[in-house]
Structures are given as structure tokens and as C-alpha cells.
């Protein structure tokens, strides 16, 4: 397996700057997954220095427990990204071919159909049925080019994000275009699952594809696409923003108003890929504050201290063996203790994991989880 890792003329130690680590342990101290897993990220950074130990490390189940929330990277005083050591170990497993069937199927699906959900490419835009969606053409200039995300395009529970956004954009007269079924996975989960080769190919293909469009900027619906484009696509020729940034902008311009309100106590859960990794904290709150009657609460662990929902890092396809309480359940209990009636999110993965937690805890009567676009769609009166 190691031969693969050495193929880029860099040792593991060099690639992940392991000698830069001072073993202070802030990474492990901050890692939310330690609450339910044996994962000790500091220890991995230490052990990975011994190249002969890499194969053994790659066989440990806990390398798949990391959710790629980036807390370790945010807290590292030396500016290292400890989680990437785990991704490097995952790469060794992936390149040996002996990976979990669920991971194998998701990666093969991205390769063949451009999405990890084993859905046909030709059905990617089926969510648009019955809606007036403007489709972007590469040769026609458009201000906002929308990138939907595989999960939002295919999962019936979260398609509402895209549907309500289209209605809002049409009503507000925004200059926009959505991509047709030529849109392919941004590779966020491919990267964190460690499929280096496939990720490289995706970055190359998507850069070429997206650069063809004459758009002022790309607007993503998922924070995962947002962060992936901003961090891993150096040759993209246009800026990438998250849709909550666009909404905040439209509010500032007075282009968004709603007749209805929502007399509810709402707490916003910062998605790791939007907050910790993207630095976007205020815009989603700005949007929620505009909802008449809503009372906005704050988690004790908010903004860069937000607790991960365990939806990222490829965890949609790898189940953690631990039977201890899921972080999403911890989060929902925190929300209940606050007296929140709605946990608002701005990420399809957070929506799915937190909603599952509400169900498994039996809190459906008292509270619900909703994506911001879902709430805006319920305000009625439209714009």
C-alpha cells in the first residue's frame, strides 16, 4: 500500500508536515468525535511519523470516524491540518481496493454518474419538474450561476432547498441560471474518503466545465460544495459564495420581504463546512432575524465552537462502530434544553443527521429541524 503514498515523490511526513507538530494535544482536546470514538488524532500525527507503521495505522477502524469538521485544524497553533493525516491513511486503504462496500459503491457512482447516491445522471434535474427554472447556457452571461449539490438534487427530503430557492429567485427578480444535468459532484466527500485520484480528476473536469460559463460568480446550495470549491479548486475563474450570503445581500438591498411570520423560538446550528471552514457565521443569522415573530436563540457551542453533526467526512457511507450517543443527538438535546422549537440549518447533511436525531430521541412533538430555505418557503405571501 505504501508504494502508492510515495508516488508523489514526497514522504508521508513531508506531505502532512508531521515534523511541524509540537504534540500539544489541542487537536484531540477539541475533536468532537472523541466523545464517542477511540480516535486520538494527536496520537495519529505522532505515530504516522514512523513510515513503517503506516500500513498498520491504515487498518485501524477509527481512521473512518473523523467527520472532517476541521476543529483540529482550527485549533492547531502551528497551522497544521491533523485530519489530513487520517485522509492520507484512508487513501492507502482506497488505493488497495479493499474498502467498505458502501464507500466503494458511492465512489464508483461518482465516477460513473457524477453523484455518490447511485442515481442516473439523466435524472439529476428531475427536482425541477413543475418549476420555472432558468437554465444557464455557457455562452450567455449571467450574474449568479447556481450549483445545486448531489444530495439536494436527488434526496426527496432536501430537494425543498432548491425548489424554494428557485421560487425566491424568480420572485426577487435575481439574474441567475442553474446548471442542467451536466452538473457533477464537487468531490467534497470523495476528498475526505481519501480517493485522491478520483478527486484530482473531478477538480480538473469541474474546473474546465464551470470555467466555460460566463457568470460573475457561483452560488452553492450546500456548504460542502462551497468549501470544496474555495479550498481545492485553485484554477476556478470565478468566486464561489454560499446561498445565505446571496440572501443577506438581497436583504441589504431591500429585495426580499415576506408577509408572513413564524412565532417560534429558533436556534441556528452552524454547519462545520460553512462556519469553521468557510468563515460564514453572520449571514444565516441575518436571514433568520428577518423572520417576523421569530426569536433567535444561540447554542452554548455556537459559531467556531459549533458541535459537528457527524454528516461530513464521508460519514454518510461509513457507520461508526460506537454505540455511544450520536453527536447529533447531543446537539438536539442541547437545543431542547434551550427551549428551541426549530433547529435551523443551512446544510443538507446537517438537516438529515439532526432530523434523524429528533426522531430517535422521540422529540418530534416538541421540535423540528428545518433548512433555512424550508422556513422561508413557509412564510407565505412570497416576497
Amino acid at each position: 500500500m505504501r508504494g502508492m503514498m510515495m508516488s508523489e515523490n514526497q514522504t508521508f511526513t513531508e506531505k502532512f508536515d508531521l515534523l511541524g507538530c509540537i504534540q500539544c494535544g489541542r487537536c484531540t482536546g477539541g475533536c468532537p468525535v472523541t466523545a464517542r470514538s477511540n480516535l486520538n488524532i494527536r496520537r495519529f500525527v505522532y505515530d504516522a511519523y514512523h513510515e513503517e507503521a503506516l500500513e498498520e495505522l491504515a487498518r485501524l477502524a477509527e481512521i473512518w470516524d473523523c467527520t472532517a469538521c476541521h476543529t483540529c485544524a482550527v485549533r492547531c497553533p502551528k497551522g497544521l491540518k491533523p485530519l489530513e493525516v487520517l485522509i492520507g491513511l484512508r487513501t492507502m486503504v482506497i488505493e488497495s481496493g479493499k474498502t467498505q462496500p458502501t464507500v466503494r459503491d458511492a465512489l464508483e457512482s461518482v465516477f460513473r454518474e457524477g453523484n455518490p447516491w447511485e442515481k442516473a445522471r439523466a435524472t439529476r434535474c428531475d427536482w425541477m419538474e413543475g418549476l420555472e427554472v432558468k437554465i444557464a447556457q455557457p455562452d450567455t452571461a449571467v450574474e449568479n450561476l447556481f450549483f445545486v449539490c448531489c444530495t439536494i438534487a436527488y434526496d426527496p427530503r432536501v430537494q425543498v432547498i432548491a425548489k424554494n430557492l428557485v421560487r425566491l429567485l424568480n420572485a426577487a427578480g435575481v439574474d441567475y441560471g442553474f446548471i442542467d444535468d451536466g452538473e457533477s459532484c464537487c468531490g467534497s466527500e470523495v476528498y475526505t474518503l481519501g480517493e485522491d485520484g478520483l478527486f484530482e480528476m473531478i477538480v480538473e473536469d469541474n474546473t474546465e466545465f464551470l470555467n466555460e460559463f460566463q457568470a460573475a460568480r457561483i452560488v452553492t446550495l450546500s456548504p460542502h460544495c462551497f468549501t470544496t470549491y474555495n479550498r481545492h479548486y485553485p484554477d476556478l475563474n470565478k468566486p464561489v459564495i454560499h446561498y445565505t450570503q446571496l440572501l443577506a445581500e438581497l436583504l441589504d438591498q431591500g429585495r426580499l420581504t415576506w408577509e408572513g411570520g413564524l412565532e417560534k423560538k429558533i436556534v441556528f446550528h452552524d454547519p462545520c463546512y460553512l462556519g469553521k471552514q468557510g468563515g460564514i457565521y453572520d449571514e444565516p443569522r441575518r436571514v433568520l432575524q428577518e423572520i417576523k415573530g421569530a426569536k433567535l436563540l444561540e447554542f452554548g457551542r455556537a459559531r467556531e465552537r459549533s458541535l459537528c453533526c457527524e454528516g461530513g467526512g464521508g460519514k454518510m457511507w461509513v457507520e461508526t462502530e460506537s454505540k455511544k450517543e450520536r453527536l447529533a443527538e447531543t446537539r438536539i438535546k442541547d437545543a431542547k434544553a434551550l427551549g428551541a422549537e426549530i433547529v435551523a440549518v443551512a446544510c443538507p447533511f446537517c438537516l438529515l443527521t439532526l432530523e434523524d436525531a429528533v426522531k430517535s430521541l422521540g422529540f418530534e412533538e416538541e421540535m423540528r429541524v428545518a433548512e433555512i430555505m424550508e422556513l422561508l418557503g413557509e412564510l407565505g405571501g412570497g416576497n
Partner: protein, 263 residues
């Protein structure tokens, strides 16, 4: 050890809306995703496992369109050595005997020890190609194989029968085995492996290259006529059980099941 593994590129129709083409004898596949037939994927893995254990080479054999080369490259990335893709619109693909005769035409004249196929194709479900292939090659076969053990000049296999029964057979080589799903856990073909496999030979041939006359494998040779495909009308026999509470509904449901002799 020289192994051939025969694979098929099939549409995933599990979730898609299936529409019949105007001619009535083909399905509109424009909205389907295509992939290696599930059982064939296990056959590829088994062929590679045998090669890893006993040495030798594995040749992938497939009848299919240009698009199916992705599937073939993935098999090559997993450890198969070379591949032959047969493309010829004259073959009566709806008839497994014609398919088997074509595959046999590509294998005959070459030395081989084993031919593996999936036990069934998920699109037409005939379960006949592998067995017919053994007949055309004049070698023994075992179908629905769940375990393979290579012996000297022989292969010992376990076949899955109904009711969880297993049958153990010993076959003289060369032989054809049709592989049942679950025999192993197919590996992942990493993209770097697929790229590296671009260097492996993938030969494209037609019936003329194989020295087969079209009249041996076309619709005139087939004793089957594909009349039509159709989607059965949905009969409206669903009944919504009404009731004031779960107990009442459960009672009604139970009485329906009892009356119908279902419990």
C-alpha cells in the same frame, strides 16, 4: 492458469421509470445508469482472487457498446490482464444461445482452464448464457457457484441450492463456472488504477474477426422471436383499512389475512 471472465453492461432499472420504445421490442434506456451486471462483478473478483492465488492471466470478454469500456477498464484495474470487446449489431442479443455461441467463438482455439460468468444478468434474467457457453465449448460446468477451490487439473466448487443446501462438485478443467453473488466482496477500482490500466490491451472485434458467420448468431439462427415488451397494467386491488384506532385497524387486517388463508 488461464481464465476468461465474461461480463455484461446492464442498465439499472430498479428505480428508473421504464418506457418501451416505439418498436415495442426494446426499452428506452436514455435515462438509465449502466454498470457491470451484479453477478459478473463477483465473477471478476473471483477470477482475480484465483489469479492472485494460483498465478496466470485473466482475460475479460464482453459483448457491448463503446460506453461499456468504462466497465471493462474497471475490471482491468482490479487485476485482469487484457480484454476483448465484441461489438456487432448482427448478433441476436435477446437470445442467450446466440450470445453464448458468440462468446464461445472468441474463446475457441485459445488455451484456457476456466471461464467464469455471472449466474444471471439483471436485465433479462435468463440464467442461460454461462451454461450454454459450456455446451458450445464442450466442457463441464457448474452453475450458481458460491465457493471455488483450485485443485491439480480440477476445480472443487460449492453450489447454492434451495433451502440453504450446498452441493459440492469436482470438475475437470477446463470448465465453466457461473458465479453467484456474495461469493466474495468485490474490490474497489481506484481511479489511479483505472488510469494505469489504460496501458492494458482492450481489443475490439466483430463477428468477421472471430471467424463467425452472421447466419450462425443472428435472428435467423435464433429459434426465438422477441415479440414484444410491455408494462402490465396495474390492477387496482389496494384497500385502505379504515378504523378509529390501531387496535381496530389491526383487527380488520388480521381478519383479512385469516380469511385469505395467508396466516
Amino acid at each position: 492458469m488461464k481464465t476468461f471472465v465474461c461480463i455484461k453492461y446492464v442498465p439499472d432499472t430498479s428505480e428508473a421509470v421504464v418506457k418501451i420504445n416505439a418498436g415495442g421490442t426494446a426499452v428506452d434506456s436514455s435515462r438509465f445508469s449502466f454498470d457491470i451486471n451484479d453477478a459478473d462483478n463477483y465473477a471478476v473478483e473471483e477470477a482475480v482472487l484465483i489469479k492472485e492465488k494460483c498465478g496466470g492471466t485473466v482475460t475479460v470478454l464482453s459483448i457491448g457498446p463503446k460506453e461499456s469500456e468504462v466497465m471493462i477498464r474497471m475490471a482491468l484495474a482490479k487485476g485482469c490482464d487484457d480484454a476483448i470487446r465484441i461489438e456487432d449489431e448482427r448478433i441476436a442479443l435477446y437470445d442467450p444461445l446466440m450470445v453464448a455461441k458468440t462468446l464461445a467463438g472468441a474463446i475457441k482455439g485459445q488455451e484456457f482452464d476456466l471461464v467464469l460468468t455471472g449466474c444471471m444478468a439483471s436485465d433479462d434474467g435468463q440464467m442461460a448464457t454461462g451454461v450454454a457457453l459450456a455446451e458450445y465449448l464442450g466442457v463441464p460446468h457448474a452453475a450458481m457457484v458460491k465457493k471455488v477451490e483450485m485443485l491439480d487439473g480440477k476445480v472443487k466448487v460449492q453450489r447454492e441450492l434451495e433451502g440453504g443446501l450446498m452441493e459440492v462438485l469436482e470438475l475437470e478443467l477446463p470448465a465453466v463456472l457461473t458465479i453467484q453473488t456474495g461469493i466474495n466482496e468485490p474490490r474497489y477500482a481506484p481511479i489511479r488504477g483505472i488510469r494505469a490500466a489504460q496501458k492494458k490491451e482492450l481489443k475490439l472485434v466483430n463477428l468477421d474477426d472471430l471467424g463467425l458467420a452472421a447466419s450462425e448468431v443472428d435472428s435467423s439462427a435464433s429459434k426465438i422471436v422477441l415479440e414484444k415488451l410491455y408494462i402490465p397494467e396495474v390492477a387496482s386491488t389496494a384497500e385502505v383499512i379504515e378504523g378509529s384506532d390501531a387496535d381496530e385497524k389491526a383487527e380488520k387486517l388480521a381478519s383479512i389475512l385469516v380469511k385469505g388463508g395467508l396466516v
